[in-house]
Symmetry: C2
Subunit: 214 residues, 2 copies
Amino acid sequence: MRRSAGNDSGLPEPIPFAEVYATLPLLHPTPRSWAELAAANLPEFLADHAVCEQQVAMYALSLAGYYPDDAELVERVAALAAEEVQHFRRVVAILNQRGWPLGGRRKNPWAQSLRERIVPGRDPWTKVDRLLFGALVEARSCERFTRLLEVVEDRDVVLLLSDLGPAERRHWELFYRLAGRGIDAEALAARFLGWREFEAGLARGLGVSPAVHG
Amino acid sequence: MRRSAGNDSGLPEPIPFAEVYATLPLLHPTPRSWAELAAANLPEFLADHAVCEQQVAMYALSLAGYYPDDAELVERVAALAAEEVQHFRRVVAILNQRGWPLGGRRKNPWAQSLRERIVPGRDPWTKVDRLLFGALVEARSCERFTRLLEVVEDRDVVLLLSDLGPAERRHWELFYRLAGRGIDAEALAARFLGWREFEAGLARGLGVSPAVHG
């Protein structure tokens, strides 16, 4: 454990991983060895993290473009995009303070494989899938941040991830709730199970690079 | 003029169009008849305006993705994206309050024609052009908002545009300044003149629909 029971660091106590994991829709936990790797390679982790925030913000804004008639969705994803842009700025500020490069666009095979499951033009399921995709991205990010918080010592990163973890948890729940409006609950759960199993299949091969979803 | 000299409406006095226009890099002024058309069709104007804000936010975020090594650009466009997302939310809130539809993605032939002038892979000019494109989008938006403020009576819209006009002015100046870093001033001015003349050619055929750039 990174911090002692006495916690005289002034930093927030990490929430036990198992406790957070139990609330998430994931079927394969990230190994602790991933967190050790990411903590040992913070410049790479943070550079990748910044791009994740930027891309989730763009994804949320694109959803508003796809579903302009869904007033609740538009309001919610716009608020989410605003949060993600602020997260992006916060990560960028840490990188800049340290002279660590941002890195920019890179392959994210995990997200790419998930995204390829979305088939346009088959509503209501296309819309449901776009939202379930968002739910899984946020859920896995939350899980990874929680894992990393167990081991990382860097004060700025501890404070960053302590703030962001709960936001990602709210976000996956929001995406899932938006997906479920007007959809039979059992059909939704079955659809999401298909996504969760697919994602777990990807996750089993990962945990081997310091990227957020690597 | 929308408001009397006495201005007992409590609303900000509109800045005279000619005064704002003189500070902008535009070579063809929008006719006042466009503002009359937009004021008479506020649901269409606001729906289009919302999409413009959403798309400018996405464009700004995409620039951070193109140029991750340019720390100043990344910081500035991220801050700009944050502002544009808030503008988007503000326009969406007005639409929702009134039960006016958002409308969503639509053709914007003016922006499309401009964007087609950007040729990838020819840096430094590709980067310069991406920023000059941003400068012109913001400048024309600023000009249109100023025009509309001369005639619109709707209190929420007056307050919205009174706030947004100055933001768009700051934004075009920011894009132009970012474009000019490390570029010979005369070469930059000549490049921008090509953009301005092309945009004026487009603008001469416009002013005929209530869209922000229509």
